[in-house]
């Protein structure tokens, strides 16, 4: 017993080091395996007010670009207005019945912190649980998809950027509906890779890639990017497709968080299958 105490007191620095390392590895392991992100959740509130102050200053420098992109989007939305359509029929019936039910809501948010050059990139937004944001909601910009909400505090939320090792998004080729998962390989923030597209499916450069209808996070048909290059290695069952993303992650400043009003219903139904 005395030897044991002597042993521990002699090497106490090593034991301390060992204990702290185990602690950090447990956090990393939990994060990578459960995506619960309890640690990030805990720190989001404390540190994002710092980034918010920084971005308040930085936003003055990009006001012109932000105005331009909002103007373009306004024009696009205006062209979709009911009043900008020529009426072919003689009578207009205002159908307000149970055929259509709103499924998606959009919450506007500003980016307060962002990175594109790390292997795992995260984005912080200035909207949180007070504004109805919950984890696992999709985030898009005016040009394409951005990521998935990871954790929320009352006024902020962190987003798992598409430029992240842990981010996998269900996508499909628009012209033939062949689906695959979109991942980022860490090299170029403008290029992602589309995996699991079967080799018998014909694909071509500049084919449009959109979100598929298999996820409860994104609505179907949100543009992601276009095919930049595609190869088929001999003996390989899947295409190697590089996708040029529409979203410029280094410039993204205004985004929309998507709330799926029917998500609960779909997930409850699907969870009964597993039991």
């Amino acid at each position: 017993m005395r030897n044991l105490i002597f042993f521990i007191s002699k090497y106490y620095v090593f034991f301390m080091f060992f204990g702290l390392e185990i602690f950090s590895f447990i956090i990393i392991y939990r994060f990578n395996h459960y995506q619960k992100a309890s640690f990030v959740n805990y720190t989001t509130g404390a540190t994002s007010s710092f980034y918010s102050a920084v971005s308040n200053t930085q936003q003055y420098f990009s006001l012109r670009r932000m105005n331009d992109s909002l103007q373009i989007e306004n024009a696009k939305l205006r062209s979709q207005l009911f009043s900008s359509y020529y009426q072919n029929g003689l009578t207009v019936k205002n159908i307000n019945d149970s055929l259509y039910k709103q499924q998606y809501e959009y919450i506007a948010a500003m980016v307060v912190n962002n990175s594109v050059t790390k292997r795992n990139n995260y984005i912080t937004l200035n909207r949180g649980s007070l504004h109805g944001i919950e984890p696992q909601m999709g985030v898009i910009s005016e040009s394409g998809i951005v990521g998935i909400v990871l954790s929320v505090s009352p006024r902020y939320c962190t987003v798992l950027s598409l430029l992240n090792n842990n981010c996998k998004i269900s996508a499909k080729v628009k012209k033939n509906g062949a689906f695959g998962s979109l991942v980022w390989d860490g090299a170029d923030p403008r290029i992602a890779r589309l995996l699991d597209v079967n080799k018998h499916v014909p694909v071509a450069t500049n084919d449009l890639i959109i979100t598929s209808n298999y996820s409860t996070i994104f609505p179907e048909g949100i543009p992601i990017g276009k095919i930049y290059s595609h190869t088929l290695d001999a003996g390989d069952n899947f295409h190697t497709i590089k996708v040029e993303l529409f979203t410029d992650f280094s410039m993204v400043s205004t985004v929309y968080v998507i709330r799926n009003l029917l998500k609960q219903e779909q997930q409850t139904l699907e969870s009964t299958l597993k039991n």
Partner: protein, 173 residues
């Protein structure tokens, strides 16, 4: 405390500000991710007790983790670096260094000694950090390349910083 706590806290604060506001916003390439905040751990005086050393590096990593919303990556890497620093300094410093309250820096130990010292510790830190970040060995060679390039740039920045700010203190104590 033997050393001046205020000076070191200020140094940590300034290094973190530079790291978060300037270095993290440099978007040259995805292989260039220098982490200069490790200079804080590198430049603590040799008289810091081993257990303090481990604890300080752990807390530094934790602070960095909180601001970069990473789960424990910087904690693990910085704690390992702090622990290895104890053994590295045990092997390479003399009694006079200890009595003279040496702080490992270019001005006190010379540029060659400091480069070898800083390179080996920064390399370990970046190696652990980047491999934990991708959480696997699937992109081994591209990650190795990122580790090497980032290590060299971190080293360059730290040495430049030392030459700029610590020149005046050359061997006066």
């Amino acid at each position: 405390m033997i050393f001046d706590l205020g000076t070191y806290l200020l140094r940590l604060f300034v290094l973190l500000l530079i790291q978060l506001l300037v270095i993290n916003n440099i978007e040259l390439s995805s292989s260039i991710n220098p982490y200069i905040y490790v200079a804080f751990v590198l430049m603590l005086p040799v008289t810091v007790k081993p257990w303090q050393m481990v604890l300080i590096s752990f807390l530094t990593g934790m602070l960095m983790d909180a601001f970069s919303s990473t789960p424990g990556l910087h904690m693990a890497a910085t704690t390992l670096m702090g622990y290895l620093r104890i053994h590295y300094l045990n092997a390479t410093t003399t009694k006079e260094d200890l009595e003279g309250r040496l702080t490992p820096s270019v001005s006190q130990k010379g540029i060659v000694w400091f480069t070898v010292y800083a390179f080996s510790l920064i390399f370990t830190h970046h190696l652990v950090l980047f491999f934990l970040e991708i959480y696997g060995f699937s992109e081994f060679f591209s990650t190795m390349l990122r580790v090497l390039i980032s290590t060299l740039i971190t080293l360059l920045l730290i040495i430049t910083g030392q030459l700029l700010f610590y020149r005046s203190k050359v061997r006066n104590g």
